[in-house]
Every structure is written in structure tokens, then in C-alpha cells.
Subunit: 232 residues, 2 copies
Amino acid sequence: MTEKAFVRARRPEHKRQRREALLAAARELAVTSGVRNVSLGGVAAAVGLAKSNVARYFGTREEIYLEIATEEWRDWEAAVTERLRDAAGPRDVVAALAETLAERPLLCDMLGQMSTSLEHNVSVGSARVFKRAVLGVVARLGARVAEAHPGLTEAEGVELVAAGSVFAGALYPVSNPPAALAELYRQDPDIAAACPPFLPTLTRTLAAFAAGLPLMREGGYGGPSLGATHPL
Amino acid sequence: MTEKAFVRARRPEHKRQRREALLAAARELAVTSGVRNVSLGGVAAAVGLAKSNVARYFGTREEIYLEIATEEWRDWEAAVTERLRDAAGPRDVVAALAETLAERPLLCDMLGQMSTSLEHNVSVGSARVFKRAVLGVVARLGARVAEAHPGLTEAEGVELVAAGSVFAGALYPVSNPPAALAELYRQDPDIAAACPPFLPTLTRTLAAFAAGLPLMREGGYGGPSLGATHPL
């Protein structure tokens, strides 16, 4: 074997390792500092690469996080699936969704940044892989939710799962305020009292939504909705 | 009157005009390009000021938008109050909240950026003025919602109004996708079908939440929630 052939054969494995190292560094930085505070240069520096060299592995910072988000969605799917095995009825189903989200601050942080930041500045191909993965998770979990909660149809189960991810993304940054708000809450306890705590608020909101969903069937509120697959 | 005295007397009015011009320019740029794409330099340039001179009027880009958001919340309050005058029952209340939000894309854009961006990089004083204004609007509208919807308590009315603003902020950037997603939706209609349209989805989500809220009273789901003023 010539040295050139050896280098060629080694390259894909080497490239894969670099890719994994970049994903691991981006994940670690996001856990430590919050997704919004991580730059592509920061990720590159963490693995000892020049920012320009990251382009061989990922197009943008956001494409890195879409891939990490896909891993996190699949991890969440596994956890909810496990929890739903023993679930019986509405309360267990809502607890399974809300508590597994509360246990995953990185996922919730990314959910909160998704539509306003992480889905921007990405290639159509990256967006497609991510969206297909998420829709798959939501469809499978929706079916399992409907099995564990006889009061919901499969379509309503899908809506509940989608709502869980949307509410979690909206609540997480509210429940985890930036420095100026944290200081304001320290100075003004009456304002702090209006800051919703993550798990109790997510649980109550999802529980009310789940209880109300079946009541929409005859109310003329059918049609497009969170997780709907057939809009107007 | 000396010239110096004249300049001094003129200054507060001049400063107020500059401030108004900066607010108007920031508003106009946000309407045209989306809040996330507007920089402090862009706002300064739009009124012919150097970026460094803006510091006399506003500390940061985010402080400008907190002030515009306060104006938008008050404008929304007036619109909902007007709509609720003729409202009778759950359907009218939900329509009043959802439709007035759909008519206010700038408010919805800012709601979607609030906790992840616009509440960062601001002074404690700016955050206080903003939060007190918003809590006032939510409290007053919550009371009016409960008057128009006899099935809800005032506290539940407050929750519904708060949920409306949170859901609208979460849905708006999903329903108005960035370029890569818009292209993906054009290429893959099955993925596009899962993108929730703003007004129907907001209406259905709020209607289900409002229908479920009273069912939580005996369900042990009381306590902290969206818009709660007394957390655990």
C-alpha cells in the first residue's frame, strides 16, 4: 500500500472524528453558556481548529445545533416512550411529557432558539433532515400518547406532543431569565412572583390544553393546529 | 435672553424629538426587516446619527425595542378592550385575543424575540418599566376576559391573556419561516403541511386551553401557571 493510499483510506474516519469532536464541543459550550452565547469561532477554538477549517465539517453554527437538536429530540423520544409504558390516563401522560422536558435543559434551550435563530442561516438540506426527524418523533410519540390516554385521538396526541415542545421552548427562557431580569426579580419580589416556574407551569398548561382538546371536536375549532398535517 | 439660555431651553424638546425619531426609525426597520435583523447602527444611520451618539437617548438596541414593545402592548390592550365590549362567551373572547394579535405582526415578532433576545442587554431600570407595564396590561385584560367569559375566574382570565401572548410569540416565527425553510416547504409539500398557520393555530390552541382551564380547579393542577402572581 502506498502512503498516499493509506492517507486516503484514513481520511473518512479522521473526518468523522473531527465532526464528532465539533459536535461534542458545541454541546458542552451550550450546556455551560447557553446556546445563544456560543459562536462558531468558539466551537472551533474548543477543538483547536481555525474557524475557516470548520467549513469542511459544518456549513454554519446553526447547522451544528440542528444536528445536536436531532440527537436531543431522539433522546427525548426514548425517554417519553419509556415513561408512557407505565402511564395510565391524562395525568401520567402530561407528567411524562413535562418532566422529561424539564430534565433536558439543553433541548429546551434549543427549542426556545429554534424558530428565531437555529433554523436561520442553514442549508435547505440540513433543514430537511432536521424537520423530517422531528416530524417522525412527533408522529410516533403522538400515537403512543393516544394509546396511554384513551380520551385523545391520535391526531390530538400529536397536537399535545407538538404543544409540549412549543410551550417548553417558549417557557424555558422566561423561567431562566438573563442577568438584568434576575437582578430586577431580586429587587422587586412582586415582579418576580409573576415569573413562571418551568415544570409547574408547563405541566398545568399542557394539562389544561389536553383537557380542552376533546372539547374542540364539536366546537367548530377543528382543522389546522399545532402538529397538524393538513392546514387549510 | 442670552443665546446660551436659549440653547439650554431648547435642549429637552430637541432631545425628545431625537428620541421619537429613533423610536420611529427602529419601528419602521423592524416592520420592514424583522426585529432580529435590526442593529443599533442601522437605527442610528436611519436618523442620520453616529451610533455612538445614540447612547444619549438609549442604552442599547434592546432598550429601544422594550419601549416600542410597551407601546404595542398598550395598543393591543385598547384593541382587545374594544373587542370585548361586544363579546359574549368563550368563542368571542378567544377570537378577540387571537385576531387582535394576528393584526399586530410587529408585536408578535417582538413577543417571539422577547425572552431570548430583547430582555437581554438592558438596564434593570428599563426592564422594570417594561415588566410593570406588561403586568398591568395582563391584569386589566384578565379582569375584562373574566367579565366577558363567565366560565373563567379573574385569575384564569389573566392566565388566558398571558398564554395568548406567549403562544403568539412562539407561533409567529414558526408561521413566518426564514428563507431556507420557505424553500424547503416549496420543495417538500408534506413538510410544509406541518407548518402551523398563525391565526387558526393560535385560535384553536387558546380555545382548547380556555376550555380546559376550569377543569383544572379540582384536578390538583392549581398553583403556579402562566400569568400567576403567586408561585410556589
